[in-house]
């Protein structure tokens, strides 16, 4: 498509976080000449989310130190950024969106990047409990910092032992809080990793003085003389000042659903991030999309997916051939441990654990299904992460004997060396 055809057209992007913002800038880069209009209900300039539970939480920084793009960048690229504005509806017939105040904005192409929101479980006493805070936005972090600062005993209970809960626990410990994590499953990170890695992280938190309790199903938040008590179904109780809610997210799919777009486990999109409406795309955490490498539809909560889908959607909107085909990757920082993950381990039948040079803190977990490498979790081991990425992509057969041999340094040539037998 030539620029002439996309001149004077309007692309509206609903949601200005990693996906929406990157899409807006990518549209310009790919040659979109017309208007680009971004909306988000959050009044703050769009910011990086991963640091919120990590370095940002433990700092005194304002969000200005953590912006996705400077305010001037939007002006420079002619991107109209409308913050603190909610979008109520999509009118596909007239190609309009209806804003919170009832006004209407027309579009030629629409990008839905509405993301997700934290689940607030329906535990009696939780919703009306003060200082029960999820962690998704900069405002949540401001509330958590404030609560910790103003708490004498600094007792914190984190409900949920997933990445957000564990990162927040590590950060709050650094701020001097006494932290207990309550996990409903029999191990932390149960949904996303192998038991060996759950054990590693459980131990890491223990070493750092954070208590992790598993098989803890929270059933009520009670108040006794102004003190909050978190009660579990096994009869155990945890007094606390602050509750962090980290039990997962709901996809913000209501806008798309009300507009009649296809929804499954998220907004369903094709390999160009397009929905079942020719002129509407969806990107980021809210999408249910096909991953060609793993041969199935997936939903991902990650910066990588948000940014890469944003670029694909922008390219496709500008009329160029493209296809979303990326191996998912993630990272997490807790204490002095840097975890880097690549691939999707779901369906694995074997995990090979490597410990480099008997260094307890330099590990990697290699997830196989038969001879196929599905995923690698690398702990303080960027080399394993990079090798894993390459080998998952290439599909080369891996010499498991060499992989298991921790006496030898990790080398890619060893991993793909011929197998004796």
């Amino acid at each position: 498509m030539s620029n002439r055809l996309i001149k004077n057209k309007t692309c509206v992007v609903v949601g200005a976080s990693h996906a929406g913002v990157n899409c807006a800038f990518a549209l310009r880069r790919e040659g979109w000449d017309g208007d680009i209009i971004l909306y988000d209900a959050d009044p703050l300039l769009p910011y990086h989310r991963p640091p919120l539970s990590k370095a940002y939480l433990t700092s005194d920084d304002g969000i200005d130190k953590n912006l996705l793009k400077s305010a001037e960048s939007y002006d420079k690229e002619g991107i109209s950024l409308n913050l603190g504005v909610s979008v109520k509806a999509i009118d596909r017939t007239h190609k309009n969106i209806i804003l919170g105040d009832g006004s209407v904005q027309s579009y030629d192409k629409l990008v839905v990047a509405t993301g997700a929101r934290p689940i607030i479980p329906s535990i009696p006493g939780l919703a009306n409990s003060n200082n029960a805070i999820p962690l998704r936005t900069a405002t949540d972090v401001a509330n958590i910092r404030h609560a910790v600062k103003n708490s004498n005993k600094k007792l914190v209970v984190v409900i949920g032992g997933g990445y957000i809960g564990l990162e927040t626990a590590a950060s709050l410990k650094k701020l001097g809080a006494k932290v207990t994590v309550l996990e409903r499953e029999e191990r932390i990170l149960a949904r996303v990793t192998a038991p060996e890695m759950s054990a590693f992280f459980q131990n890491l938190h223990l070493e750092n003085g954070v208590e992790i309790c598993t098989n803890k199903n929270v059933i009520a938040i009670e108040t006794n003389n102004g003190e909050k008590i978190v009660c579990c179904d096994d009869g155990t109780c945890y007094p606390t000042d602050i509750i962090i809610i980290g039990v997962g997210i709901f996809v913000n799919k209501e806008l798309a659903m009300a507009a009649g777009l296809d929804i499954e486990n998220g907004i369903k999109v094709d390999e160009t991030a397009k929905t079942n409406d020719e002129d509407i795309y969806a990107i980021g955490d809210c999408t249910f999309h096909y991953n060609p490498h793993y041969g199935r539809y997936i939903r991902l909560e990650s910066v990588q997916n948000a940014v890469d889908q944003a670029k694909v959607a922008a390219t496709s909107i500008c009329g160029k051939e493209t296809r979303y085909d990326t191996i998912p990757w993630f990272w997490s920082d807790q204490y002095d441990v840097k975890l880097q993950m690549v691939g999707l381990s779901q369906g694995y039948d074997q995990v090979i654990v490597r410990k480099e040079n008997n260094d307890n803190k330099c590990l990697s977990f290699w997830y196989f299904k038969g001879e196929i490498l599905l995923a690698v979790d690398a702990v303080n081991n960027a080399k394993a992460y990079v090798y894993g990425t390459k080998l998952i992509k290439s599909g080369e057969r891996i010499n498991k004997e060499k992989l298991l041999d921790c006496e030898e340094d990790l080398k890619i040539a060893h991993l793909i060396s011929p197998i004796n037998s």
Binding site: F25, H48, E72, S73, V303, W331, A382, K383, V386
Partner: protein
């Protein structure tokens, strides 16, 4: 305060002035092509790869272990490679020239 010059893959030369923060953040703020900084500067994505001008290596130092590991299999890696999220702007970086690797 430091003046930092970026040369993109299109051979565009852009000189920016930075006071603090990382060189990656400075580049992203000014839309330097090829510097994405997707992970926000925690050495997790390798989308801020630059080649330091050989004569400026004494100012920047060479890549740390994690940078070297992240770049080991990169097609464009060389002895002057750095991930510029790991370069903190200070007076000592004044005048350096960085070629964007991608």
């Amino acid at each position: 305060m430091a003046q930092i010059t970026f040369i993109t893959s299109d051979n565009e030369t852009i000189t920016l002035e930075g006071k603090s923060g990382s060189v990656m953040a400075l580049a992203v703020d000014h839309g330097i092509k090829g510097i994405d900084g997707d992970c926000g500067g925690v050495c997790s994505c390798a989308t801020c790869h630059v080649h330091v001008a050989p004569e400026d290596m004494s100012k920047t130092g060479s890549a740390s272990q994690i940078e070297a590991d992240m770049l080991e299999l990169d097609d464009n890696v060389n002895e002057f490679s750095r991930l510029c999220c790991q370069l903190e702007i200070s007076d000592s970086l004044d005048g350096i020239v960085l070629k964007v690797a991608n």
